[in-house]
Symmetry: C2
C-alpha cells in the first residue's frame, strides 16, 4: 500500500518548528512529544524496542506506520519494524489471521469482541495489539499509543475493548464552494476544485485523528445538498478522498439531494414510486460503487427548510428513504434519513413535529435505513430535553445526531465542553422499554437486544483553522464525541482526562485546570445564554449573540418570542396538557417529572411551563430573581474560567496559552453581553428590579437591539 507522503520519519525528527511555528495545535491529541518522565520513558523504551506487523492490509500498514511514528516520538529515538515476531517488543495483527496471535485470547474473550474491537495484551516480554479485524488492529494501535501518551503502566497489560455503536460518523456541513454552513473554524478543508489530483496532507491527518477515536465514516457534504456532487467528475473527487480515508478505516458518505434525478438526470419527476426515478438512483448507486467500493451511503435532509423530498409527491418519508435504500442495498450502503423536518405550515409547537411525522412510519423503513434524530426536539440549543423519538420507534434503528460545531453555544469562540451535554442526553432514562432505558441503550441497540444498525453522527467543528477547530478546546469536543460514539455509556470526564493528558503538559495544575474548564463550561454557557429552560433566543440567521427580542421573521417558529412567550404576566412555553402537550410524546413515567412546575427540574422549567415572574422556586427566589442569579452565575463562571487559565501562564507553550486566553477574554465579554441583553429584555416585561447585589446591564435594551453583525460567520452560502 502507498500512504500519502506526509510521514517521513527521518525528516520529521530532524526538523524543528521554525520561527513561524511555535505550537499551533495542528497535531491535535496525536502529539507524540518525547515523554518527559525519564524513568518512564526508559521503561517503555526497554519494553518496546521494535514492532512486528503480521499481515498486509492497508489498515494494518497504517497502524504500523502510526506505531513507528508514535513510539519514535514518545521514546525520543527511532523505533523500527522487524520482519519476524521479536522475542521482545510489540506484535500487531488480526485475530484468526495472524499466527503470532494464536491462543492469545480465550475463546470467550475472542467472541466477546465486536467488529472493530481489539485486545492489548502483555505476555512475558511481548506486547500484543490484536484486532478482531483490520480496523480493530488500527484502533488497538491508537489505543496503545494513547496508553503510553497518558503514562499508564505496561505491567499486566490485558485490555479488551470494542465499539458499542457500528457507525460513528462526522457530518460535514461543507458546501462545494468551500464555505461551511454553521462552520466556525474557518472554511472547508475539502478543496473540491483541486481534487482528485491534489491531495492535501491534511486529508490524511484528518483520517488519522478520526481513526484514533474510532470514527469510521465521514459525510463530506452539507445536508443542504447539491445534486452536482453526483456528477461523475465530483464522484471522482469523492473517490480520491475515499482512497485517502480507506487505510484509516473510514468510509465516505455523501448527502443526497432528493431532486437529483430531475436536476442531474433530466427526469421530469423525483417521485420515489416512479420507475425511471428508481432506475436513476440504482444506476447512480452502481456508478458510485464502481468508483468507491466501500462507499458508506447517503445522508438525506428532505422536506425540511426548503429541501426537496417525497412529500412533494404525496409520498411518506419512508417511501423516500426506501427508494434510496433499495438503490444502495445491493452494494451494502445505508441511508441516514434525518428526522429534522418541519413543514411549511407553522406548527403550534415545533418541538412536536418530527415525532408526529415519524412515529406512524415505525417499521416501514427498509433494513438499511436509519432515522437520524437530533438530540433534542428543537435544534441544538444549549440545553434541550431529549428528543421524544428516542424510544418511540422500536422497529426503526435511530441514529443520534449531536452537534460538535457550536451553532448556538458560542460558535468558534467560546470554550464550552460539549461532553457534559452529550452525557446528559445519553444518560437520560426514557423508560421506553422499562426503567433504565437510557438514550445510550437505544442508540447502541442494547435496549432492543437485536443486531440492528446503530449509529452516532456529529456535525463537525472542523475547518481550515490551523488547529482545526478555531477554539483549541473545540478539539476536546471532537475527541469526546468520538469516544462517546464508540461507547455511549461512557463518562465525559474520563474522555476530558484522556484528551487533556494527550494535549497538555503533564503538570497537575495544567491538567486539573484544563479538565475543570471542560467540566464546568457547558453549565456556565447554559446559564449565561438560556438558563432555566429558555431556548432559541439568539440573533437571527447567523445565530450569533443574544436576540430574545426577535419577532419579525418569515415564520413564527424562527422568532424568539415564539419560544419564550414573555409577557407582563410571565415567561416560558407551556408544553403541558394546558399548552401544546408536547409531554404526551414521552412515556408517562418520563413526562410525570416535568408536568408540574413543582417537580420539574429548574433546568427545564421554562421549556415546559409558562410561569408568572413572581413564581416561587424551591430556592426561595422568585422566577425573575432566579433568572437574574442564573445569568449572573453563568457570566461569573466564565470570569473564573479565565482567571484559572491565566494561572497557567508559562506552564504550557505560549502560542496555545495565548490562543485560549484571547478566546476566554472574548467569551467573558460575550457572556456579559448575553446576560445584560437578556435581562434588559426580560425586565421590560417583568418590571422587577435586578437584585441589588448584582451588576446592572451596562447599556439600554435599545443598544443591544441595535447591534448588527452582517458578517458573522457560519451562515449559509448564497452562491
Amino acid at each position: 500500500m502507498r500512504l500519502t507522503p506526509v510521514f517521513s520519519l527521518t525528516i520529521f525528527l530532524l526538523l524543528i518548528t521554525g520561527p513561524l511555528g511555535a505550537d499551533d495545535g495542528y497535531r491535535l491529541w496525536l502529539r507524540y512529544d518525547e515523554i518527559a518522565d525519564s524513568p518512564l520513558r526508559k521503561s517503555y523504551a526497554k519494553a518496546l524496542p521494535r514492532v512486528f506487523r503480521e499481515g498486509d492490509s492497508p489498515q494494518l500498514c497504517a497502524a504500523e506506520e502510526e506505531l513507528l511514528l508514535g513510539l519514535s516520538g514518545l521514546l525520543g529515538h527511532g523505533v523500527e519494524s522487524t520482519a519476524a515476531a521479536p522475542a521482545k517488543g510489540l506484535i500487531l495483527g488480526v485475530l484468526g489471521r495472524s499466527t503470532s496471535l494464536d491462543g492469545l485470547l480465550s475463546a470467550e474473550e475472542q467472541a466477546s469482541l465486536p467488529d472493530g474491537g481489539y485486545a492489548l495484551i502483555g505476555q512475558g516480554k511481548q506486547f500484543y495489539i490484536a484486532g478482531k479485524d483490520d480496523r480493530g488492529a488500527l484502533y488497538g494501535a491508537f489505543a496503545f499509543l494513547r496508553y503510553l501518551q497518558r503514562g499508564r503502566p505496561l505491567d499486566d497489560l490485558h485490555l479488551l475493548d470494542g465499539p458499542r455503536v457500528k457507525n460513528r460518523l462526522l457530518n460535514h456541513w461543507d458546501n462545494l464552494d468551500g464555505t461551511v454552513e454553521r462552520g466556525y473554524a474557518g472554511f472547508s478543508i475539502w478543496n473540491w476544485h483541486q481534487l482528485p489530483h491534489y491531495l492535501d496532507p491534511r486529508y490524511t491527518d484528518y483520517a488519522r485523528a478520526n481513526a484514533s477515536i474510532g470514527i469510521n465514516g465521514a459525510v463530506v457534504t452539507n445536508v443542504n445538498a447539491k445534486a452536482i456532487v453526483f456528477r461523475r467528475d465530483y464522484l471522482q473527487k469523492a473517490a480520491a478522498l475515499a482512497e485517502v480515508f480507506r487505510p484509516y478505516g473510514i468510509r465516505i458518505y455523501l448527502t443526497a439531494r432528493f431532486s437529483a434525478p430531475i436536476e442531474l438526470g433530466g427526469l421530469p419527476t423525483a417521485d420515489p414510486e416512479d420507475a425511471a426515478v428508481k432506475k436513476w438512483w440504482q444506476d447512480k448507486a452502481s456508478e458510485i460503487y464502481a468508483l468507491i467500493p466501500d462507499f458508506g451511503g447517503f445522508v438525506v435532509k428532505a422536506n425540511s427548510e426548503g429541501q426537496p423530498g417525497p412529500r412533494e409527491y404525496g409520498r411518506t418519508h419512508a417511501q423516500g428513504a426506501n427508494l434510496l435504500a433499495d438503490a444502495l442495498a445491493p452494494h451494502g450502503g445505508i441511508v441516514m434519513w434525518r428526522a429534522f423536518v418541519y413543514s411549511n405550515e407553522e406548527p403550534v409547537d415545533r418541538a412536536k413535529q418530527a415525532y408526529d411525522e415519524f412515529v406512524p412510519l415505525d417499521g416501514k423503513f427498509r433494513d438499511n435505513v436509519m432515522v437520524q434524530v437530533k438530540n433534542g426536539p428543537i435544534d441544538f440549543q444549549p440545553r434541550e430535553p431529549v428528543h421524544p423519538l428516542f424510544g418511540s420507534m422500536p422497529h426503526t434503528p435511530l441514529a443520534m445526531e449531536f452537534q460538535i460545531t457550536k451553532e448556538y453555544l458560542g460558535q468558534g469562540t467560546h470554550l464550552v465542553g460539549l461532553g457534559k451535554m452529550y452525557e446528559e442526553v445519553l444518560q437520560t432514562d426514557t423508560y421506553a422499554e422499562g426503567p433504565g432505558t437510557r438514550v445510550a441503550d437505544i442508540i447502541d441497540g442494547s435496549a432492543y437486544g437485536d443486531d440492528r444498525l446503530t449509529a452516532m453522527a456529529g456535525v463537525a467543528n472542523i475547518g481550515t483553522a490551523r488547529n482545526w477547530t478555531g477554539n483549541l478546546f473545540g478539539q476536546a469536543d471532537w475527541y469526546t464525541f468520538g469516544r462517546l460514539a464508540w461507547n455511549p455509556t461512557g463518562k465525559a470526564e474520563d474522555y476530558f482526562r484522556e484528551w487533556s493528558q494527550m494535549t497538555f503538559p503533564n503538570s497537575p495544575t495544567v491538567q486539573e485546570t484544563a479538565q475543570n474548564l471542560l467540566a464546568v463550561s457547558h453549565e456556565a454557557c447554559v446559564n449565561y445564554m438560556t438558563p432555566l429552560g429558555l431556548h432559541h433566543i439568539m440573533g437571527p440567521d447567523h445565530h450569533y449573540g443574544p436576540g430574545p427580542w426577535i419577532k419579525d421573521m418569515p415564520r413564527a417558529d424562527w422568532t424568539s418570542v415564539y419560544y419564550h412567550k414573555a409577557d407582563a404576566e410571565g415567561v416560558g412555553f407551556d408544553r403541558t396538557k394546558t399548552g401544546s402537550d408536547a409531554l404526551e410524546q414521552y412515556t408517562s413515567r418520563f413526562a410525570a417529572r416535568y408536568e408540574s412546575p413543582d417537580s420539574c427540574p429548574p433546568a427545564f422549567l421554562l421549556w415546559y411551563h409558562h410561569l408568572p415572574w413572581d413564581h416561587k422556586l424551591p430556592s426561595g427566589n422568585t422566577l425573575w430573581a432566579e433568572l437574574c442569579y442564573s445569568y449572573h452565575a453563568g457570566a461569573t463562571k466564565v470570569g473564573e474560567m479565565l482567571k484559572n487559565w491565566k494561572s497557567l501562564s508559562g506552564r504550557l507553550d505560549q502560542e496555545r496559552y495565548e490562543s485560549v486566553r484571547m478566546h476566554l477574554e472574548i467569551q467573558e465579554k460575550e457572556a456579559k453581553w448575553w446576560r445584560d441583553a437578556c435581562l434588559a429584555y426580560f425586565q421590560s416585561f417583568s418590571g422587577m428590579p435586578v437584585p441589588a447585589e448584582l451588576e446592572k446591564p451596562t447599556h439600554s435594551l435599545e443598544y443591544y437591539e441595535g447591534l448588527t453583525f452582517p458578517y458573522a460567520p457560519g451562515i449559509k452560502a448564497k452562491w
Copy 2:
C-alpha cells in the same frame, strides 16, 4: 514594546515538528534552518557571537528579535543580545541616533540613502546594521539574515541599499465575510469576526514576511468595498491589525466606498462638492487617525463594475479623489485612485477607456493622490502591452498595480513565475520623456526628477492555505513582487535566485531546477493560454479554463469574441489606424514598432492586428500553423517542467516536493486542455489542419464548450 507572543526562542528550539507536520511551507523564505555547510556556519558563528541594539523603537526591537531568531536558527545555537556594543559581534541602530554608528558612513554615503535605506558594514570584528531610519534598520536586519541564508561571505561587507519606490503595498481583495475575490489560496487570513480581541499569530508572521521584502503597506479590504468597514467597531478591528503591523513598518490602508456617506452617514448624497459630504469624510478621517495614527489612506475603485463614484453626480474622478485627499491631508494620508474604470456604455475598444478618461485630468489631482494603473490596458491578462497611461500623465504620480494572485494565469494551481512578466512591463521603454523612459523610471519617479509620491501595489495571492499561496511557487511571486517594488529596475532572475536559495536546500540541482521553473513558466503559460497576443478568452465569471467561444454576456466587452474577433478570414483585434487606433494613445516611437504586422513582435501580433489565417510570419509559418506550434510549445514546456521537478524527488522534503509535483501534474493536464480547446475552437474558423506532427485535440469542440465549473474558486461573494 510588546511583540505578539509567537516567538519564544526557548520553546521553538525545543519543539520538533510533529507527525502531522513535516514541512508545510508556512515559514516561507524565512526558514532559518541550521546552515548545513559546517565551516561556513562556524565562521558565521565566530563572527557573530552576540547582538547589540542601540535604540528602543518598536521597529528596532522587532529587528533585534528577528536577528536573534534568525541567527539562533542558522547557527544552531542560541545567540543573545548584550547591553553594550560588543568588541565582536553585530550592532544594530539608526544613523544619527545610535552613537555606535557615528562615523560609520561617509557624509556622501549617508546622504545617498533614501528613507527606509540601510547599510551593512563589516569593520574589524564588528558588523553593523545601520538604518537611515527605524524602518531602514528593520530592512537591514532582514537583508543581513538573507545574506547569511544565502551563504554569502562576510569579508569586506560594505553594502548600501534603499527603496526606489516610497509606497510598496499589498492589495487584498478580501471581503469582510472571509471570502477573497480572485483568491486562490483558500480564504481570507483576516478573521474580522474575532478582531480586535483575537490576534492570530499569522498576522505577525504576515508582517514579518512583508517587512523582509520591504512591503510597507497593506490594503486589507477588497476594492469592491463595503461602507461598513468605516463603522467604529470595524475601525477598531483595523486598529488592532495596525498595531500588529506597526513594529514591522507596515501601515494599514482601507478601501473606501464612495457612497459611504449615504450608507453609513445617512446623507442624501455622496456628491464630492457637497459640504456635508466633505464634512463626513473629514470627520471620518479624524476618527480613523485617532484610532490609527499611522493610517496609510484609502484605495478607491469608483465608477467601475458597478461601484459608486463621482460620475453619478456629474463630477470627475479628480473631484472624487480630491474629496478624500482633502480629508486625509491633515493627517498625512494618501489616496490611491484606481484607473481601472469602464463606463456602462460598451466601448469600441475597452483598452482605450482609462486613457481617455484620465489623461484630461492630469494635473488636477491633489498632491496626496496617486492614480493606480494596472500594468496593461485590459485586465491582468497573461501578457499585455504596457498601459498607455504610463508616461501620459506627467503631472500625476502613477502607481503600478500588478497582480500577484493569478486570476488569468492558472490561479492557485499553475506554477507561473510572474517575475518575468513584471520585469517585461517595467523594462518597457515608453519613450515618454525621450528614449529610455522605462515604465520603471516612471514608477520610481526618476523620469521626472521630482520628489513625487511613488508606489507599486500587488494584488495579494495570500490566503488561509498553510503555505500562504496554495501553489508553493506562488511564494516566489510574492517575494519577487516585493523586491521589484523596492527596486523596479531590478532583474527578476536575481530575485528568483534569492528566493530559491532561501526556500530550498543548497543543492545545485535543486537550485537550478527551481530557478529555471520560475524563469520559463510565464512564457509557457502565455503559450498554452493566449499566444501571439490573444487575450481575454477564458471561461466566464470564474475565469477558470479556456472559453474562446464565450459570446453571450451582459456586455460585449465581457465576452471572448469581442477580443479575438475570429472569423473565416482571420483572427485578432485591429488596434491600428484601420481599427480602434489604440496605438495612438502611445508615443509615436512606441507605436511605430507595432503599427505594421511585419515589424510587430509576434508576442503582440493579435493584440494589435486582425490577420488572415494564412498570413505568413517571419518564421515561415502561416498564422494558423504558428498558433498551433505556440499552443503546443506551451503545453510541452509544462511537461518538461514536471519532468525536471520529478528529478528532485528525495532532494528536498517530501511534503513540499509532493505538493509541487501534484500541482504540476494538474498544470500539465490543464495546459493540454487550454491548447486543445482553443485550437479546436479556432480551427472551426480557420478550417485548416493542425500540422501533422502535432497531437490532435482529444475531444470535440462541443465537449470543451460543455464543461461547467460552478464552484471554481475566487468568484465574487454574493452575500
